[in-house]
């Protein structure tokens, strides 16, 4: 069975986001889409060509999990600075310790949820037996 691209799951005080992907790039992009949907749910699933906002970022980390969390935190910063929500990410480079990405998104007037940060608490990028990459990240709300 194909796992959901992303799924928002319960946490007593915060928000737990699960995401998966056939590749690491897809996992990272689904995480961005999931975080975007927490910040401002999309009224419909926009196609990449409909997203006018583009932001580039480069992140380095000691391993793939820390890289993912740091990537989300950097995207969160850009989101809040520019009042934008990102729905996709394209990758020029993605290794276990380095990424260069382009975020695609939309401008927003306000956010529905105030995400303080993506945390490392339960985060662990793993590969399931079907070969999908998976991770769960808790966001402090």
């Amino acid at each position: 069975m194909t796992p959901a691209p992303y799924e928002i799951r319960g946490h007593t005080a915060d928000v737990r986001l699960y995401a998966s992907g056939k590749t690491r790039e897809e996992l990272f992009s689904h995480m961005i889409a999931g975080m975007g949907s927490i910040m401002q749910p999309a009224l419909y699933e926009p196609r990449a060509e409909e997203l006018a906002v583009r932001r580039e970022l480069v992140v380095d980390g000691p391993d793939i999990t820390v890289l993912l969390v740091d990537f989300l935190n950097e995207a969160l910063y850009l989101s809040q600075m520019h009042r934008e929500v990102y729905r996709f990410a394209n990758f020029l480079a993605l290794t276990d310790t380095h990424l260069e990405a382009e975020l695609l998104g939309q401008e927003v007037d306000m956010f529905e949820a105030d995400i303080k940060a993506a945390t490392y608490h339960e985060a662990q990028v793993t590969q399931n037996k079907e070969g999908y990459f998976e991770c769960t990240v808790i966001f402090d709300i």
Binding site: H11, T12, A13, D14, Q80, A113, Y120, H121, I141
Partner: protein, 485 residues
């Protein structure tokens, strides 16, 4: 809600110290350096053992240099590193400081104002006052404030906190007297606060944001301790105003930056932890020292923020009641996410309070003179929007067994997603208004997330700390008006 994981204590692992205090012995897990303690009634234990709270508590006991024990207050719930309601105190000389443990909302806290007027006399104006609050206090995610600061001025705020606000006309000298630490931690250094953090916080002073932050108007509906109530200036039936907010985006980014920095630094110091979110470094290390100075800066930003919000609240008050009623006065301002340097048993400690409140007893030199001579430091325990809040005061026993601390709120029991599934914001608003509580909220979904059903019964939480003898109930406050983002 997260399911308990391996290494989580169950009820069978708990040793009863007395009716309201339980201990997980050091022998429970090999990596524990000290025991873990839980302030709770027997009835609360099932709920506490139901998620990852106790696993997270036990993880606190593994920190290098941890002193005596780690513990949680009865409002404990699962967090993302420390449980919310957690307190741990590593030694200053050989212990660590942990940005992940302190959390992202550095110096989130509450301040309570007394109006000195009976609620019944202003009852008919409460709805207008809540509307005025909604106008004067910017709220919601992404909405900036009106105070525009230069780079230099922002750096001054990071150094001087609430004192900067008072020096610039947004309050008076008495406001500083009634803030924990005088509304300013010394040792702050804007040079170790990143540009990212400064940019995130630059336009957010005087704003309340969203989530569980609010301004609430209440009436004192029960007095438990007449002498302490008198010392705090409370009269039965009077209106009070409670402000709950923190360091906004600036504090969130400081935490993000330093957790990342310490994750990279930990191998250098040979520190290994079960949970990376508790990332830490020795206090006497370059990284530890830098975080202390950055944390103090963010804490000062939070005190400045609550001071400016109070200025806006006073402005809203005057716009409704004119100059005929005196502007509300500050009872006290307390932090509930912070690291403080405090001394217990003649040992200098770094007391990390994550969702817990300092609660010093009478006679303590760090609290205002009039409170020190009479009742002790006030502690505010906000309930949920539809229930009650409480004012407590510190008592000597908390210095002996709880690092001078008490609880901080009701404590959540239900996830935000679940609350939104079963509560409709509009229906909740109507229900609260039917109870006589005027509500102005920027987001109905946000209102539903904070529904009273998502919280523990605040009375039972407060009763535990009262009966355990680590704080004393003074008054109960019933909400009559709420504004939130």
């Amino acid at each position: 809600m997260g399911h308990p994981v391996q290494g989580t204590p169950t009820k069978q692992n708990l040793v009863k110290i007395h009716d309201y205090l339980w201990e997980v012995p050091k022998s429970f897990r090999q990596d524990m350096k000290v025991p873990a303690r839980i302030y709770a009634s027997a009835r609360m234990l099932d709920g506490i053992c139901n998620d990852r709270s106790l696993w997270q508590l036990v993880n606190l006991t593994t920190l290098p240099g941890v002193y005596k024990y780690a513990f949680v207050m009865p409002d404990v719930h699962e967090g993302y590193g420390s449980p919310v309601g957690g307190i741990v105190a590593p030694r200053e000389d050989e212990g660590v400081i942990s940005p992940g443990l302190c959390g992202y909302d550095i110096n989130c806290g509450v301040r309570l104002l007394r109006t000195g007027i009976a609620y019944d006399k202003i009852k008919s104006n409460i709805s207008d006052f809540v509307t005025a609050l909604f106008r004067e206090v910017p709220s919601g995610v992404g909405r900036g404030g009106w105070l525009k600061l230069s780079h230099k001025e922002l750096d001054e705020v990071l150094c001087r906190g609430a004192q900067w606000m008072v020096e610039h006309g947004y309050g008076d000298e008495q406001d500083i007297v009634y803030c924990e630490s005088g509304g300013m931690l010394s040792g702050a250094d804007p040079a170790v606060v990143s540009d990212h953090a400064k940019k995130r916080g630059r336009d957010q002073l005087g704003t309340i944001g969203a989530g569980n932050h609010f301004v609430e108007i209440q009436r004192i509906d029960e007095i438990f301790d007449q002498d302490a109530a008198f010392a705090l200036g409370f009269t039965h039936g009077d209106a009070t105003i409670l402000i709950h907010c923190g360091s906004r985006g600036l504090g969130h980014q400081v935490a993000t930056d330093y957790i990342r920095l310490m994750l990279h630094a930990m191998p250098k110091y040979g520190i290994q932890l079960v949970d990376r979110e508790l990332a830490c470094a020795p206090f006497h290390s370059p990284e530890g020292g830098q975080y202390w100075r950055a944390m103090a800066s963010a804490a000062n930003f939070a005190w400045a923020n609550r001071q400016l919000i109070m200025y806006e609240v006073r402005k809203a008050w005057i716009s409704v009641f004119g100059e005929s009623l005196a502007a509300p006065g500050l009872v006290y301002d307390v932090a509930h996410n912070i690291v403080k340097k405090e001394t217990y048993d003649n040992v200098k400690l770094l007391v990390h309070r994550k969702g817990a409140t300092r609660a010093f007893p009478p006679g303590h030199p760090e609290i205002p003179g009039d409170y020190s001579r009479t009742c002790g430091q006030p502690v505010f325990i906000p309930g949920s929007m539809g229930t009650a809040s409480f004012v407590l005061v510190g008592v000597p026993r908390t210095m002996e067994e709880a690092f001078g601390s008490s609880c901080h709120g009701a404590g959540r029991v239900m996830s935000r997603t679940k609350a939104k599934e079963i509560v409709r914001g509009q229906v909740l608003k109507e229900e609260l208004e039917a109870q006589g509580i005027a509500v102005r909220a920027g987001s109905l979904a946000g209102l539903a997330e904070e529904a009273p059903i998502a919280y523990k019964d605040v009375e039972s939480v407060v009763d535990v700390v009262h009966r355990a003898g680590i704080a004393k109930k003074v008054v109960r406050l019933r909400p009559v008006g709420v504004m939130k983002g």
